[in-house]
C-alpha cells in the first residue's frame, strides 16, 4: 500500500492502480464519461481530470497510475471549470431533447450539466440530423445524442468480442456506426444490449414494446398472460430505489396482477423444464457418442454468435429452446387447451432482463402456424416504466403467489439468472438421472460468481465430467477457439451466457449497476437456492405433473415438437 494526499487527506492506494480507482475507493467521486470499469482506460473524455501537484496541466485520473506521496486536488476551481467546459462543448451540438428522451433522469450528460451548474448554451454548434436506426428488433441507435465516448464500441469489442460497431470518419464527422453504415439488424450485432448499459446518454436504447403491451392489456378480447425471467425479481427493486440484491418476487407477482395480466407465470419453471430436457439430451449424447461438448442454448445472443461466426459448433448446441420460448410454446398449447382458449386470443408477454429476447421472440422458428409463441418482450426497465405509469406502489402490495400450472419453480430454475446457474441446475438433475441418487453437494462454488470463465470437474457414478461456464461472449470466443484448436478435449458440457455475469447483468436490467451491484444480484439468487426446499428440477412436482399430463417424458415427440428447435448458419458481415 502507498499513501497519497487527496484534497489534504491521506488515502491508501495500491501500487500500479489508477488514481481514479483509489479516489473512488476512498469515497471521493470524480465524474467520468468514457471510463468502463474493468477495461483499460481510454482517456477520451477528460471529464475525470484532477490537479496533481508538480504537473502543469490537468491530468485524467482514470489513466494516471498512483505514486507514493502524490498530491491531488479533485475539485479545485480549475478542475471544475475544465469539466464544465467539456460538458458545455458536448452540449453545443446536442439536441435539447431531455423532455422526450428515454434517458432523462438517468442520463450522465444531463446529470453532469446539472451538477456543474450549466444554465445556458455557451457554444452553438451545427446540429447533425442523423437517421435514427430502428432496424434492429432489440436496439435503437440515435446518433444525434451520441457524445462519442466510445464505451459502446469498447464493450462490444472487448467484453462481447462482437465488434458490430466502431468509430467511422474523423474530425467533426466522426460517428459510431456499423460496417458500411448498414442497419444494426443486418450487422453482426447479437442484440445483447450491453452497449445500452454502457452508454452515458440516450443514444442507445431498447426497441420498446410498452405500447403493444398496454394496448393488449386494454383490449377486452385478449387474454393477456405474462412470464418473468429468473433474474427479474432480484433487480426490479432497484428501479424503485431499493438496494441491489433485494428479491421482490411476491410483490412483483402482485403488481403484475394489478396491471391486469390474467395469469402470472414464472419462466424459472420453464428453466426447470430446460434442465430436464437438456440433462436428458446430455445423457443421450454421452451414451450414443453424440457431438460433445454439449453447449447450452438459453441465451439468444450466444446462439446468434454461433450461427454467424462459429457454424461449425451449431451441432454442439443443445436443441432446447430457451425457457422463455418453452413457456411461450406451452402457454399457447397446453395452457390454451386446458382453459379452452383459442391460442389466437392469447397475448403472451415475457418480462426479461434481456434485449436479445426481443430478437429471439421474433425468430421464425419460434412461431407455430404463423403466430409467435411470445408476442411481446419487456425488459426489466420497461416493466418498471409501466408500473410507474400506472401509479402502482411496489412496496405497498401484499406479495402474491404465481399462477398454477406454469408458476411453481424449483431453485434450480431460478439459478439460471446467474452465470453458472444453468450448469449447476443441469448437473444436479444429470446426477439423479444417471445414478438415481441426489448429488451430495448440490452447491457448486467453482461455478458461481462473476468470473468470465469458470470450470470444474464433476464425478457422476463412473463418469468424470469436465464442465466449463463462460459469460461475456469474449470469454466464450476464447473457449471456442481453444476447442477448435483441439486443446479442450476434457470438456463435455459448457454453459454460455451472453452477458458478463449472466442475466443478472443483462442488457435490459436497471442502469448504473457496477460490479458490486451485479454481485449482490447474484447473491440474492444464491440465497434463494440456499433457503428453499425444492432445489432440483426433477424434484419440482409441477414439472412432474406437466410430463405426466401432457409432455410424456423428456425428449418425447411432443417435448421435441414444443420444447426443441434448430439453428442454421447465418450469413452476416462479421
Amino acid at each position: 500500500m502507498i499513501t497519497i494526499d487527496a484534497n489534504g487527506r491521506p488515502i491508501n492506494a495500491r501500487p500500479g492502480e489508477m488514481l481514479l480507482d483509489a479516489l473512488r475507493r476512498a469515497g471521493l467521486s470524480v465524474p467520468t464519461l468514457c471510463h468502463v470499469e474493468g477495461l483499460p482506460p481510454s482517456g477520451a473524455c477528460r471529464m475525470c481530470v484532477v490537479e496533481v501537484e508538480g504537473q502543469r496541466a490537468l491530468v485524467p485520473s482514470c489513466a494516471l497510475p498512483v505514486s507514493e506521496g502524490m498530491k491531488v486536488r479533485t475539485h479545485s476551481p480549475r478542475a471544475l471549470r475544465a469539466r464544465k467546459t467539456i460538458v458545455e462543448l458536448l452540449l453545443a451540438n446536442h439536441p435539447d431533447d431531455c423532455l422526450y428522451c428515454v434517458r432523462s433522469g438517468a442520463c450522465r450528460l444531463q446529470d453532469l450539466a446539472e451538477e456543474l451548474g450549466v444554465r445556458q448554451r455557451r457554444y452553438g454548434g451545427a446540429r447533425t440530423a442523423s437517421k435514427v436506426d430502428t432496424s434492429s428488433p432489440s436496439i435503437i441507435r440515435d446518433p444525434d445524442k451520441c457524445i462519442l465516448c466510445g464505451k459502446c464500441v469498447r464493450v462490444c469489442e472487448e467484453v462481447q468480442g462482437v465488434s458490430a460497431i466502431d468509430f467511422h470518419g474523423r474530425g467533426s464527422r466522426t460517428r459510431v456506426s456499423t460496417a458500411f453504415d448498414e442497419g444494426l439488424n443486418v450487422s453482426s450485432c447479437i442484440n445483447c444490449g450491453q452497449c445500452i448499459l454502457a452508454c452515458p446518454t440516450g443514444a442507445l436504447r431498447e426497441q420498446s414494446h410498452v405500447k403493444e403491451v398496454l394496448a393488449a392489456l386494454d383490449d377486452p378480447k385478449k387474454f393477456v398472460v405474462v412470464q418473468h425471467a429468473p433474474a427479474v425479481s432480484v433487480t426490479l427493486a432497484e428501479e424503485f430505489g431499493l438496494k441491489p440484491g433485494t428479491d421482490i418476487a411476491g410483490q412483483m407477482t402482485a403488481v403484475l396482477r394489478g396491471l391486469g395480466f390474467q395469469r402470472v407465470f414464472d419462466a424459472s419453471l420453464a428453466a426447470d423444464l430446460t434442465v430436464m430436457e437438456e440433462a436428458s439430451e446430455l445423457v443421450d449424447r454421452l451414451r450414443s457418442g453424440g457431438r460433445l461438448p454439449m453447449m447450452t442454448s438459453c441465451s439468444p445472443g450466444w446462439i446468434k454468435l454461433v450461427e454467424q461466426a462459429y457454424p461449425d459448433f451449431i451441432e454442439n448446441l443443445s436443441t432446447c429452446k430457451s425457457p422463455q420460448q418453452m413457456l411461450g410454446a406451452l402457454v399457447k398449447s397446453y395452457f390454451a387447451e386446458r382453459q379452452s382458449l383459442d391460442p389466437a386470443q392469447i397475448f403472451s408477454v415475457s418480462v426479461a432482463p434481456c434485449t436479445a429476447k426481443k430478437f429471439e421472440a421474433e425468430r421464425p422458428e419460434m412461431a407455430r402456424g404463423g403466430a409467435a409463441d411470445v408476442d411481446a418482450v419487456l425488459t426489466t426497465r420497461e416493466l418498471a416504466q409501466i408500473i410507474r405509469m400506472r401509479g402502482l406502489d411496489v412496496g405497498a402490495l401484499a406479495p402474491g403467489p404465481a399462477d398454477s400450472p406454469l408458476g411453481e419453480r424449483s431453485t434450480a430454475g431460478k439459478l439460471f439468472g446467474a452465470s453458472g446457474g444453468a450448469a449447476e441446475a443441469v448437473l444436479r438433475t444429470l446426477h439423479f438421472m444417471l445414478t438415481g441418487k441426489e448429488l451430495e453437494q448440490p452447491r457448486m462454488p467453482a461455478l458461481r460468481g462473476p468470473k468470465g470463465l469458470k470450470e470444474t470437474r464433476v464425478r457422476i457414478g463412473d463418469l468424470d465430467l469436465g464442465v466449463a461456464v463462460a459469460s461475456g461472449l469474449a470469454s466464450a470466443r476464447r473457449l471456442l477457439e481453444d476447442i477448435r484448436e483441439g486443446r479442450r478435449r476434457d470438456l463435455q458440457f459448457i454453459e454460455v451466457m451472453t452477458c458478463p455475469g449472466g442475466c443478472v447483468a443483462g442488457g435490459g436490467q436497471p442502469l448504473g449497476a457496477g460490479p458490486e451491484a451485479v454481485e449482490a444480484r447474484m447473491q440474492a439468487l444464491y440465497r434463494i437456492d440456499r433457503d428453499e426446499r425444492v432445489r432440483t428440477a426433477h424434484g419440482n412436482e409441477s414439472v412432474g405433473r406437466l410430463y405426466r399430463e401432457y409432455l410424456g417424458r423428456p425428449l418425447s415427440n411432443r417435448s421435441r415438437k414444443l420444447l426443441h428447435t434448430r439453428y442454421a448458419r447465418r450469413d452476416v458481415v462479421l
Binding site: E157, A164, I165, D166, R170, S177, A179, S188, V573, L574
Partner: protein, 162 residues
C-alpha cells in the same frame, strides 16, 4: 467469389497482420479506383478483422473512396493557394451542380466528386480538374458550363456512365 485482382493483392500479403491494413486498402483502391463493399469484406476476412473496424479505418482517411468513380472524375483543389482564391465556394457550387457530396458518384454514373489537397497548379487557382484535365481560375458561375461540356462529350460518345 473474390475478384481475381483482389485475390492477387491478398496473396501478396499472405499471413499479414493488422498493420498491413492500410497498404492493402491502398493497393485495392489503386486496382479498382475505390473500395467496394465486397473488397472491404475480403480484406477484413483476410486479416481476421471485423468489417466495422476496417470501415472505421478506411473512412478515417480522406484518400479512400467508397463508390465507383464516375466516367468523369471531378477534383476540386483545396490546397492553400486555391483556398485563398475561395475554392471552398467552388467546391460547394460543384457539389450543388452535380447534386452529390465529395466522395460520391452521381446516380447516372457520369460524375464523381473529390476534394483534393494541392494539385501543384497554384498559378491557375482555383483549379478544377476533370479526369486530369485542369480548368484554371474557375469561378462558381463557370462550373455548370464546364460540366455541360463533359455531358455533351458523353452524349456524343453515345455512352453513359455504365
Amino acid at each position: 467469389m473474390i475478384a481475381p485482382d483482389i485475390d492477387f493483392i491478398l496473396r501478396r500479403h499472405a499471413g499479414a497482420g493488422r498493420d498491413a491494413l492500410i497498404p492493402i486498402l491502398q493497393e485495392v483502391q489503386e486496382a479498382h479506383g475505390y473500395l467496394s463493399r465486397e473488397a472491404i469484406i475480403c480484406v477484413s476476412r483476410h486479416l481476421g478483422l471485423p468489417a466495422s473496424k476496417v470501415c472505421g479505418v478506411a473512412t478515417f482517411y480522406n484518400e479512400f473512396r467508397f463508390r465507383a468513380p464516375g466516367k468523369f472524375h471531378v477534383q476540386v483543389c483545396r490546397g492553400t493557394a486555391c483556398h485563398v482564391k475561395r475554392s471552398a465556394r467552388l467546391l460547394d457550387a460543384t457539389a450543388t451542380a452535380l447534386g452529390i457530396k465529395p466522395g460520391e458518384t452521381s446516380r447516372d454514373g457520369l460524375f464523381s466528386l473529390e476534394a483534393v489537397a494541392c494539385v501543384g497548379a497554384c498559378a491557375l487557382a482555383p483549379v478544377l480538374a476533370v479526369n486530369g484535365e485542369f480548368h484554371a481560375c474557375v469561378g462558381p458561375d463557370s462550373v455548370r458550363r464546364i460540366l455541360d461540356f463533359y455531358r455533351g462529350k458523353a452524349a456524343r460518345d453515345g455512352t453513359d456512365g455504365g
